[in-house]
Symmetry: C2
């Protein structure tokens, strides 16, 4: 491990930890950073926040009388490492960005638009205050840079714990339209993908390797960045809904595992095209060649890119950003639902939180 | 410690831990328990849940075009102990109940009605499956028995971590009325309290004492139960709103600390009546006498009962459940806002998460 880079110098006020501030003092430092910045020169985004942080609860507009709601948690050493094997140190910015991304993706996957989120941050007392400020910056930057216009941070909760954990709950609006569920795939539909798959998994392999982060090429580094700061395709969800997608979900546990869930909910078989899957592996070659690894398990089993898996009725023109990767079929009488590749059952190779 | 009771026998399937099940298998065991039961013979409660667990996000009705939103997290060994000093072992039921109670209280404190919640549970792999089932039972029982009619569990997230933690995010509706903020207290208003204060703190002192749980009287045990399964007065929030409360918040960090927050938001002094505070200490005597402790710090600094602190314009008849405990005053020119007791500044003795 002697070829790993020296740890980056800690920020100047690294000596100040959350144990050194009261909850109110810490909130005072963070609140101003939770205002989602506007893109320079862009039009002002409409906000849905009717009452922001500071009271017992926030109030968010739900103009069509419905609210979309989801929650996701990240825990240090389970969902990310603060210090990776290749020398990279996860920043508060990374964790904040990822918390935004994975929650925005859940709303996107319903064909909806995120309006607001609340965040609960649990920290060991030795956490540097600068880390928390960086977390707040990453959270708001993720919202803005991923294009979730008008989405705000409505409030939250700070607490102490032995391990660092962040829970985000997010609400959104359907803008008067109908949601796209995972249960609507029908035989004859086209299976399509927006965003990426496998890149975060390739990035994870790089982070866990002995090859120092400073030796990575730009292409390898980009894969690593997808693990730390994923880029869910937020324009694709509402676009798919408007184009008439029959089913949709976000891929967070892997194409095969999540595809099996869509197939089960839709009582169908998703038959994926082998050539299309091979194409998805091409961007992963910079990592697979460096590590001497097979990229296909990353394509089939890697989550965390938060790509969108959707199905569209035959004849529908796929919206921008979607690539056809297969078709929906009726299971044969003795056959179960699930993902097939070129007609043969795919093994479930996605990540399971509990099975060892 | 030899006089502590023997640990209660573990349930029959305690050998089965969450590590022994896949996430899907665990969800299958929990989903049926997340349906909030109806009171026997009662009328069917209207549900606001338009789409429940199983997709990327849930959909909840927001009939007046607004959603109230909050999030709260509990972490083992920070917010509760799995095994207390007095021999009591915190059950999954307790943790589920408390998660429901503290979140329902946040919505209540706005004068609103909870419609749905999502839950994220982070668990060490050795957590017994029976504990998780018990957690789900406590969560739904809390919703039902605290009287949050029509509130449902809309979905959630299961994950692994070194320490047990639960985050709940809750949404609610204002039913077309205006929320009661903490900033509306005006000079001349009556300060009033619904629910209890100090009982959870007295219960905590009992849990942390060397006096075995099996030796407690019913009155002492009831104080302990308030710590483990708090009873926020859910009817009081909307009742206060309808009666014209000028300000309201839930007491989760202590009467003085939370009162200081209301006073600051309202640019006012809350002058509390010493005799009324003494009255609040009476129910705590079974614990204070046993432990040789002063009950007043529990009254002034104890949170977690989730009582409601509210102010009402003079002349308004207090709704059922509220007791007058003081009045709102204008700060003198050189004076800061805050809580006073009989005209003298109260020290902030509430719990702070970070200051040691």
């Amino acid at each position: 491990m002697s070829d790993l880079p020296a740890p980056e110098p800690l920020p100047a006020d690294a000596g100040l930890t959350v144990a050194g501030l009261s909850e109110s003092q810490l909130l005072e430092r963070i609140f101003p950073r939770l205002i989602v910045p506007e893109p320079a020169g862009g039009p002002e985004a409409p906000t849905s926040l009717l009452l922001g942080p500071g009271d017992d609860a926030a109030i968010v507009a739900a103009p069509d009388g419905r609210t979309i709601l989801s929650i996701d948690t990240q825990v240090a050493d389970q969902d990310f490492r603060l210090q990776w094997n290749n020398g990279y140190r996860t920043s508060g910015y990374d964790v904040g960005w990822k918390a935004a991304a994975q929650n925005l993706s859940d709303i996107n996957a319903m064909g909806a638009r995120s309006t607001s989120l609340v965040v609960s941050l649990t920290m060991p007392p030795e956490t540097p205050v600068s880390w928390v400020e960086d977390f707040a910056d990453g959270l708001t930057a993720g919202i803005r840079e991923l294009g979730a216009r008008g989405c705000t941070v409505a409030g939250g909760d700070l607490g102490r714990g032995r391990e660092l954990a962040v829970s985000v709950a997010i609400v959104g609006t359907l803008d008067g339209k109908e949601p796209v569920l995972r249960s609507g795939a029908r035989p004859g539909d086209t299976v399509a993908l927006a965003g990426t798959v496998g890149r975060a998994a390739a990035g994870l392999a790089l982070l866990e390797s002995e090859i120092s982060v400073v030796e990575l090429t730009a292409a390898q580094r980009a894969l690593m960045d997808t693990q730390c700061r994923p880029l869910p395709p937020l324009a694709a969800g509402p676009a798919a809904r408007d184009a008439g997608a029959s089913a949709m979900m976000d891929i967070s546990d892997g194409l095969v595992r999540d595809g099996n869930r869509m197939a089960a909910a839709s009582h169908a078989v998703l038959n994926l095209d082998a050539a299309a899957l091979k194409e998805l592996a091409v961007p992963l070659l910079p990592a697979s060649e460096l590590l001497g690894a097979d990229p296909m398990p990353w394509v089939l089993g890697g989550g965390e890119d938060h790509g969108l898996l959707a199905t569209f009725p035959a004849g529908v023109q796929l919206p921008a950003g979607f690539t056809a990767i297969g078709s929906v079929e009726t299971p044969a009488p003795t056959e179960s639902t699930g993902v097939k590749i070129a007609g043969r059952p795919a093994d479930a190779v996605g990540w399971d939180h509990f099975a060892d």
